[in-house]
């Protein structure tokens, strides 16, 4: 036996229904599976937020049917404070892990990363398939917490110990529900580690001829950087969840301190460190913020540069900034723990890189705005959502300046100011990135164009709606409105209830607007006009193949890449203002005025 050439194909065509649509090895199908999972998750998470918002606005109101979901948590349809916290925990966990991580990174990345580097698939398609199905299993395990006797956990998505570690005596859901939560996250980590492994190997090893690193589209870099972050972050969260589960089921004391008395009973654990959980969790937790947002930055840059018809002022600066964000994200996690009793000097140490991390974020935003200035931006739904991303990212990011300083954070910590900050900068901004990517790539993924009119209505109503929801959060925070309270009966909080009612109405309205998006998705999938191969006149390789792409992407031929990804605003012999990456054509000059 001698070392021989490997077959050119990574895997063969699917031959059965199961291998084509369920246990598929095709990165595109896996990407769509991730997207569908994220869609189911976001609807679930949004309904949970509606329930919470209704309770916050009208705390004594009965929500019809809620008692069926949880007879103990919502007797007569009126949720208990504990059940409010349980819904909050599930809302946040579902949104952070199964929407914000899954859609922009795993869904779009799976679909487009191999195509954009010119590969037939990822190098380990079986790992890729396992990655999705472990993630799906994690979702099922998490949602199963709704159906155990005490329901889901109430310790929040951060699951601070000792509340999360003690067991069922700590409150409803803190027994089996919390174990399911930790198990779900552990399994989720496995899925994301497998995915990150594939993403990194794809970029390093699967690039086609001519696709040097310098020629990678910005989205590839964003997914690559996110993979590097995911690899190190989820590798830390998984041990944390293992230790948490052991505290629950094996009687260990990793996170439970000595002498803890609960309900007049001494907790039979000793010597654990409650802060240890916070350290492990936030070492993962802060990079997770960037795992959610960096793919959105890549998507937005990709969408804008295509619609501006000219390159960014400095794509290198954007790439270096994204790397800087990834690097610094591991050095700032302590800013989540300013009020945990840490040494003030430690706070200073974490505050400094926290302020530093605003620099690469600002650089990226300034390049976006500077590049947009004077450009003849093509206004379509994708570019509108890209602009919306910038708006949300800036609005949410500005409040980060305040929170980065320990002296101010001591006052604002655990108030709605923080809730407003992270919802805008991480949640809504990332969602706008997902929307932008969806409107941009839907024609490629399905072979049909989406309805632009409905899309633009969807954008404007969502844009206004999200500001109506999350800007008042900042005001509430300044007014001292603490978070994680199920109702506001204190004298100083009562005057704020109308604000909460306004937010609730805005949340229900904005959520209902998303039905337009879902209608557009489904209608366009079946009835939308046929999409050409390159509807946006893009230059990267996904536009060099039919819509939708065949199972083996480039029809069994390796594309050859001649240019970088941003050949816009050029003069060509054909009269087009762009040159595709796989076109040997050379630019005749720069387009006038650019």
């Amino acid at each position: 036996m001698h070392e021989t050439a490997a077959p050119a194909v990574v895997h063969g065509p699917p031959t059965t229904f199961l291998s084509k649509h369920v246990f598929s090895l095709d990165h595109k199908v896996i990407g769509l599976q991730y997207y569908t999972l994220a869609l189911v998750a976001v609807v679930t998470g949004m309904v949970l937020s509606w329930l919470m918002r209704i309770h916050l606005g009208w705390s004594s109101a009965a929500i019809p049917g809620l008692q069926v979901l949880s007879p103990n948590g919502a007797p007569g349809g009126v949720m208990t404070p504990e059940y409010y916290l349980q819904l909050m925990t599930m809302h946040a966990t579902i949104m952070v892990f199964f929407v914000l991580t899954t859609a922009p990174f795993a869904a779009f990345g799976n679909y487009f990363l191999p195509i954009q580097v010119g590969a037939e698939d990822m190098p380990f398609p079986h790992f890729n398939m396992m990655s999705f199905w472990t993630t799906f299993t994690a979702f099922l395990i998490l949602v199963a917490a709704f159906f155990v006797p005490d329901g889901p956990p109430l310790s929040g998505w951060t699951a601070y110990a000792p509340l999360s570690a003690i067991g069922k005596n700590a409150g409803p859901g803190e027994g089996t529900g919390q174990v399911l939560w930790a198990a779900a996250l552990g399994v989720f980590c496995i899925g994301q580690l497998l995915g990150s492994l594939n993403f990194i190997s794809t970029v390093l090893d699967m690039r086609t001829k001519g696709m040097t690193l310098a020629r990678l589209p910005v989205t590839c870099w964003a997914w690559f950087i996110t993979s590097c972050m995911g690899l190190t972050a989820f590798a830390v969260l998984m041990p944390a969840t293992i230790l948490l589960i052991l505290d629950h089921v094996a009687g260990t004391s990793f996170f439970i301190a000595s002498g803890l008395v609960l309900n007049d009973q001494l907790v039979p654990h000793s010597g654990g460190s409650t802060l240890l959980w916070q350290h492990l969790f936030w070492f993962f937790g802060h990079p997770e913020v960037y795992i959610a947002i960096v793919p959105g930055m890549g998507i937005v840059t990709h969408v804008l540069v295509t619609n501006m018809r000219r390159p960014m002022l400095s794509m290198k600066a954007i790439l270096y900034s994204m790397w800087a964000l990834a690097f610094l994200s591991y050095m700032v996690y302590g800013h989540h723990m300013f009020v945990s009793g840490m040494n003030p000097f430690s706070s200073l140490v974490f505050s400094f890189p926290t302020l530093m991390i605003t620099i690469p974020s600002t650089v990226v935003v300034l390049i976006w705005i500077g590049s947009l200035y004077g450009s003849k931006l093509r206004i379509n739904t994708a570019s509108l959502f890209a602009l919306g991303f910038i708006s949300m990212f800036v609005s949410g990011g500005v409040s980060g300046f305040f929170l980065a300083q320990p002296s101010i954070d001591i006052m604002l910590h655990a108030t709605y100011f923080v809730v407003g900050h992270f919802h805008m900068v991480m949640g809504v901004a990332a969602m706008f990135g997902i929307f932008s990517g969806t409107y941009f790539w839907f024609p490629k993924m399905t072979g049909h164009m989406m309805n632009e009119t409905i899309g633009k209505i969807h954008f404007w109503l969502t844009f206004v709606g999200t500001y109506c929801i999350f800007m008042p959060f900042h005001y509430l925070g300044w007014a001292g409105n603490v978070r994680r309270y199920a109702a506001f009966t204190d004298d100083f909080l009562k005057p704020l209830i109308p604000v909460h009612q306004f937010i609730t109405v805005a949340a229900i309205f904005t959520g209902a607007v998303q039905l337009l998006f879902i209608y557009n998705l489904i209608y366009s999938r079946f009835r939308g006009p046929a999409a050409p191969a390159n509807p946006w006149e893009g230059t990267s390789l996904e536009w060099a193949m039919p819509s939708p792409p065949p199972w083996n992407n480039f029809g069994g031929h390796d594309p050859i890449v001649y240019h970088d990804a941003d050949q816009y605003g050029v003069k060509t012999a054909s009269g087009a203002d762009y040159i595709m990456q796989n076109s040997p054509e050379q630019a005749l000059g720069t387009a006038e005025g650019d």
Binding site: G210, S270, F283, Q586
Partner: protein
């Protein structure tokens, strides 16, 4: 406007043909419209060669997290009770290190076979089976260590030291079992002549890493527990 790459350095033009590994790897045999051959630097290894280092990096991060948990936990309380490590661990450490040696011998013999220096595959398989056997003995040794601790009344939840011992050794053993599965896969592929050198190398790197990781854990447990 954006730019294409600058022309390559002259010395790159004489690069040898890339290895036929099934993956293109980027920047290869680039012929622009002008027709001049621009060979940019490009030897891209098979994906498994990169992936194994990525996997090792992730495992390092996990055990770094476990290590930091141990250090923080030790410093946060006064219930840290020293335990004597089971003596069988010294034997299992030797077994794992010996398995790395046998695997390396096997790898060289497979390389000789692939390179055409020998036509006899049997010795390679023998060394691979020997590695597999030593690996299984290592796992058995870890199990014997747990039994030794149990006989002393030290269970998972007895004290933080025993907790960390069981967690560290169990998680490492799970990873070793993954390595054993990899070795079995290599032996199977060796049997049906479908083994790629990169697969063998990746499995070997992983297995050696298991040995290095165990030595680290063993020293950590020895010093801290």
């Amino acid at each position: 406007m954006a730019t294409t790459l600058p022309p390559p350095k002259p010395e790159l033009l004489s690069l040898p043909e890339r290895r036929q590994n099934g993956h293109s790897g980027g920047g290869q045999n680039l012929v622009p419209a002008g027709g001049d051959l621009r060979v940019t630097q490009h030897y891209s290894p098979p994906a498994s060669s990169s992936a194994i280092w990525v996997a090792i990096a992730a495992i390092c991060m996990s055990f770094a997290a476990f290590t930091s948990a141990l250090i923080v936990r030790q410093g946060s309380s006064n219930d840290w009770r020293h335990i004597t490590l089971p003596s069988v661990l010294f034997l299992s450490t030797l077994l794992l290190l010996a398995s790395s040696v046998t695997l390396e011998v096997a790898r060289r013999r497979v390389a000789a076979y692939m390179g055409g220096a020998t036509a006899d595959i049997a010795p390679s398989r023998l060394w691979m089976y020997l590695t597999l056997g030593l690996g299984l003995l290592f796992v058995a040794g870890q199990y014997a260590a747990w039994l030794q601790l149990r006989s002393q009344g030290l269970y998972l939840a007895t004290n933080p030291n025993s907790s960390f011992f069981y967690v560290f050794t169990a998680i490492h053993a799970v990873h070793v079992l993954g390595g054993l599965a990899g070795l079995l896969r290599v032996i199977r592929k060796l049997g049906n002549a479908s083994l790629r050198r990169s697969t063998l190398d990746a499995t070997a790197y992983y297995w050696h890493f298991m040995g290095v990781l165990w030595v680290y854990l063993f020293l950590l447990l020895w010093l801290k527990i």
